[in-house]
Amino acid sequence: MVMRISENIKFNTIVDNMFKSQDSYNKLAEKIASLKEINRPSDDPIGMNRVLNLRESRASVGQYTRNMDGCESWLTITESKLSAAGDLLADARVVAIAQSTATSSAERRSSEAGTVQQLIDEMLTLANSKYDGRYLFSGAKTEEAPFSSSGRSVAEIGTAAAADGNTFDGSVTSGGTYTGDENKTYAVKIVTDGELLADTTYRVSVDGGKTWSDPPSTDLVDGAPPIELGDGVQLTFTEGSDADHYLANNDIFYVQALAPGYYNGNGEEMSVNIGEGTPFAYSVSGEAAFTDDGEGSVDVFGVLNELKTALETNDVDGIAACLDGLTAAADQISKNISKCGARMNRLEIAKKNMADMDMDLVGLISNVEDADVSEIITKFSMKEIALKASYATASKIGNLTILDFLR
């Protein structure tokens, strides 16, 4: 069947062809300009999905790497401070050995007591070191200086404190005798409010507010008796007078309970994530390094102060007795230095893994997203030729009709 060709068909065919060529040409030009295969989600929807997910993974990897860098710095400083502490203990040992011999005198010993005092002062400065605005050795209580120069001979219960958002205008006092053997923070949370204390329900936490007692208790009494938080710690509530300021839901009260010794921090180690669901404990608590509570077994400041006292009182046997303590203290410090070392090793491996993963992710993203420049440019040249051909054809439109041949 012979097809009839009208003027419009000639025109449409050529123009449609020209538009098609231009369209492919422009699409390639866009890819060259952006150097990306995917310039909008519809260019490759599945690819776009992958790219977004990969970007999220990369952001996480970057975050974990930053965390690890922070840990590395922290551990480096911690290690150097502990190392200095070890040196101080070595110096103390030298004094103890020298002064426990018969060749020394009461005056010598007395003067050496001053040396030991200086060692204690330096040790205190070390143990209270800060890094980046936080105390290195205070466990999780990074805002408070962990060690004081004067120790407690018996356990202490601090003053009761309240969160500043509480509206309660009565008073809360702490009391009792702490029977625990490590520093803890006790807290009380009001879970329902009542006008009278007797109608109020509360919960108790023995770990600073992380977990709460269940079921809640309702034995608040105005004045006496106090409520028991555990291990001998007591809180006494006294009613306020203003009807607008009774106990309210989520009011928080807390009190620090301190074991005997020189330490005011706690035994927790701070941690950050170095991988998905992978927490990494990076800080060394002062409790483990310098005290005999929790993980620690030697009260470093206790031993040093014993040495000083023995020197002051010219107690030769006392001085000799300190040697074992000093050795044990040095071992404890050493142990914690190794802990730092082991952690830093682990970090190094983890960091390398993260760096490898990052490179892989960059490669994967590039595979999906980036345009293969040489391939695109080749296609582009071909399309350019096609476009030129369609322009050449278009120029012939109307050039050849029967009119050229009629007289």
Binding site: E7, P41, P45, V51, R134, A161, V272
Partner: protein
């Protein structure tokens, strides 16, 4: 048999061939007119001579119906491509800077805070990033809403166009009915028929209809529910009115002017008008919550809920339990992305950010907050926030890619049909030139005949003298 017969024969032939040449002229003149169907002179024997029996318009009615259907599909796909293209631009994050990137920064800011819980710089950064995240949710939501509003405002415009087309078609029907068999202006009527075909094709872009041509050559137009827009020379007008119900009382309903209780939105199934109804009522947001904005709202609501729940478990710098971190700033509260904001209490005092797990100022709650990004919260606890969002973007991309292919497909089909129509109805200059030569030859021969007949008559006359 007289010599005068020859004169009459020649006269009729001359007039006929003259008319044929004129018709050829009309065809040539309209060789570039859009929608013109070529006309052919039908010669038929008149006693001994010839006459033009009719000026036949060469046009395939069935092809016309197919073209209208394709025009409907093409109008539908192109309108969808426009609307979805706008939505795609909202979600286009190929260069970053969208919700995916901001979510990543948000979780990262919590992690940075966990390493230095009392750090003012870290707190300030977290606040800034949180504000940016909330702002981006609001902005996406507003952009999607404006696509809806835009679709809505176009509806009355299209309804007016439908009414205009219907009225023009009815006018042409009237003229054709009036003409009956006495009208001799065939070319004029043919040109009206061409115009009517063009009107139907343009109407088809807007709305899907069924057309019926009756024996008197009037074309009636019916909507998909069987109700007529045009019947012969009568029209039924459409009108719009705001529906006055939630979620947006300004959304228009469509109905016939003479039947205002019957909303006919659902009878409009394909074409530009149908697309705008669909974009407004389904694509962006719908009652089953499968629209793009519904999914964005679901994501915002889930993030706000999880973050707030975790925040309330932690302690701020003053040992207070955390309050809401994000709020939906509307009363009564509606959990939609367009209202998402950071709690103004936190903006006023960044120490109220609850980063700690205990009253001792640690960073444990910030760590837990960061861990939310890895929990499976969305899609019945099968997806994380990030993968839910990437899927949403991919969904938009897929929908756009599909409609792009649809446009290409229908454009090709339309092109084929148009060429087929041109093949039948289009003017070919080459052909018209040949016709011109043919008719001119006929004319010349007829003129010669006339001359000869005249000589015969003169000879006869001279006999009488």
């Amino acid at each position: 048999m007289s010599g005068l017969d020859a004169l009459n024969i020649a006269k009729d032939s001359l007039l006929t061939h003259q008319a044929a040449i004129n018709l050829t002229g009309t065809n040539i003149a309209n060789s570039n007119t859009a929608g013109y169907s070529r006309q052919r002179a039908e010669f038929s024997t008149l006693v001994q001579s010839v006459e033009i029996a009719g000026m036949q318009r060469i046009y395939d009615q069935f092809l016309g119906v197919q073209i209208n259907e394709q025009s409907n599909d093409l109008g539908d796909s192109e309108a969808k491509k426009d609307a979805l293209g706008r939505i795609e631009m909202i979600f286009n994050e190929t260069d970053g800077g969208g919700i995916n990137e901001l979510m990543n920064k948000f979780w990262g800011a919590w992690e940075d805070l966990s390493a230095n819980p009392s750090g003012q710089a870290e707190r300030q950064t977290l606040v800034s990033v949180s504000q940016s995240l909330a702002s981006m949710f609001r902005s996406y939501s507003d952009d999607l809403r404006s696509v809806q509003d835009d679709a809505n405002t176009r509806i009355p415009v299209l309804v007016n166009q439908i009414n205009d087309y219907a009225s023009d078609i009815a006018d042409i029907n009237a003229r054709i009915l009036q003409a009956g068999t006495e009208d001799t202006d065939e070319p004029g009527l043919n040109s009206l028929r061409d115009k009517r075909a063009k009107l139907l094709s343009e109407l088809a872009e807007i709305v899907d209809f069924h057309s019926v041509k009756d024996e008197k050559d009037a074309i009636s137009v019916f909507l998909s529910n069987g109700l007529p827009l045009v019947e012969g020379d009568q029209t039924w007008e459409l009108d719009v009115k705001p529906d006055n119900i939630d979620p947006d009382p300004s959304f228009y309903n469509i109905f016939f002017k003479d039947d205002t209780d019957n909303v006919i939105n659902t009878s409009i199934k394909k074409g530009k008008l149908a697309v705008f109804l669909e974009v407004r009522d389904t694509t962006v947001s719908n009652a089953d919550e499968t629209g793009y904005m519904d999914k964005l709202d679901a994501l915002a609501a889930a993030i706000v809920e999880k973050v707030n729940d975790q925040h309330k478990l932690g302690y701020d710098m003053n040992q207070n339990l955390g309050k809401d971190f994000f709020v939906f700033d509307i009363d009564p509260e509606v959990e939609e992305a367009r209202y998402m904001r950071v709690n103004s209490d936190i903006l006023a005092d960044i120490n109220k950010i609850a980063a700690s797990e205990t009253v001792n100022g640690d960073g444990g709650n910030a760590v837990s907050m960061n861990a939310i990004k890895d929990t499976l919260t969305m899609d019945d606890e099968k997806s994380t926030f990030s993968s839910y969002y990437s899927s949403l973007v991919a969904q938009v991309g897929q929908d756009v890619a599909y409609v792009n292919r649809s446009v290409d497909h229908h454009t090709n089909l339309m092109s084929q049909l148009t060429n087929r129509k041109e093949e039948i109805s289009g003017v070919s200059i080459d052909e018209e030139m040949m016709n011109l030569i043919r008719y001119q030859t006929g004319y010349n021969a007829s003129a010669r005949l006339f001359g000869t007949a005249q000589e015969l008559a003169d000879t006869l006359m001279s006999l009488v003298k």
